[in-house]
Amino acid sequence: MEVRVQCFGPARRLAGDEWLSVQLDEPATVADALAALASRGDEFAALLKQCAVALGDEIVRRTHPLKSGDVVALLPPVAGG
């Protein structure tokens, strides 16, 4: 199944794009999506370990199940203010 990934902040910069997609075997979790994304490179993989993941306007844990067509947001460490 395909899951779309929206990158924010430094993740967008490192990915070189706002939108990515990953192909996952079902059933899949957020952790599976992150594992698939980690193949994009060491620096991106390191950042992924510090990222929160949101589905809609909810932050979800790495054990959260994903379904086909889900859009997940990749949220690196934040620095507002």
Binding site: A46, I59, G80
Partner: protein
């Protein structure tokens, strides 16, 4: 007037943030504005660009306002955060608290600003006079991240730097 957007892409107005916040039972109004500095860690800064997950950030700021109001027993907590390109001196964040007395107003204001800076999905990219830029390294907001960073609750230098 508590339904204004917490994430705004135009210059912030303190007057607008205070509209309808007046309380006859409050003797203290404490305000914080975070403005863009011309330097960071000794490097001259020309401007900043803030980005956010706007829907989530808006929701989280409202939740933080309610949490701090409850914890500190203050009736009014409001925060608004700017996104987009900001010049030196412009306000990135405005926060206001009204309380019966100043002690709880100051305590709530500090907690409010700290929480928004540390927990809300907003990112700050600094642009330097030499043409490079860098994201300011921040706080991991995943409860179950594999790596929460060495100093998750303080800014600690620069992140991924780019020419």
């Amino acid at each position: 007037m508590t339904d204004f957007p917490r994430i705004q892409d135009t210059p912030l107005s303190l007057d607008a943030l205070l509209v309808g916040s007046e309380r006859d039972d409050c003797g203290a109004l404490a305000i914080f504005a975070g403005t863009v500095r011309n330097h960071h860690d000794g490097r001259p800064v020309t401007h900043l660009v803030y980005t956010a997950h706007a829907a989530l950030a808006d929701k989280m700021i409202r939740g933080i306002e309610q949490q701090i109001a409850r914890q500190h027993g203050v009736p009014v907590c409001r925060v608004v955060h700017r996104i987009g390109a900001l010049r030196i001196g412009e306000s990135a964040i405005l926060a206001v608290v009204r309380a019966p007395h100043r002690a709880e107003a100051f305590a709530a204001l500090r907690a409010l600003v700290d929480a928004v800076k540390h927990r809300v999905p907003i990112w700050k990219e600094e642009f330097y006079t030499d043409g490079t830029s860098a994201f300011v390294t921040g706080c991991c907001i995943a409860e179950d991240a594999e790596d929460t960073g060495a100093h998750p609750h303080h800014e600690h230098g620069h992140g991924h730097q780019h020419a």
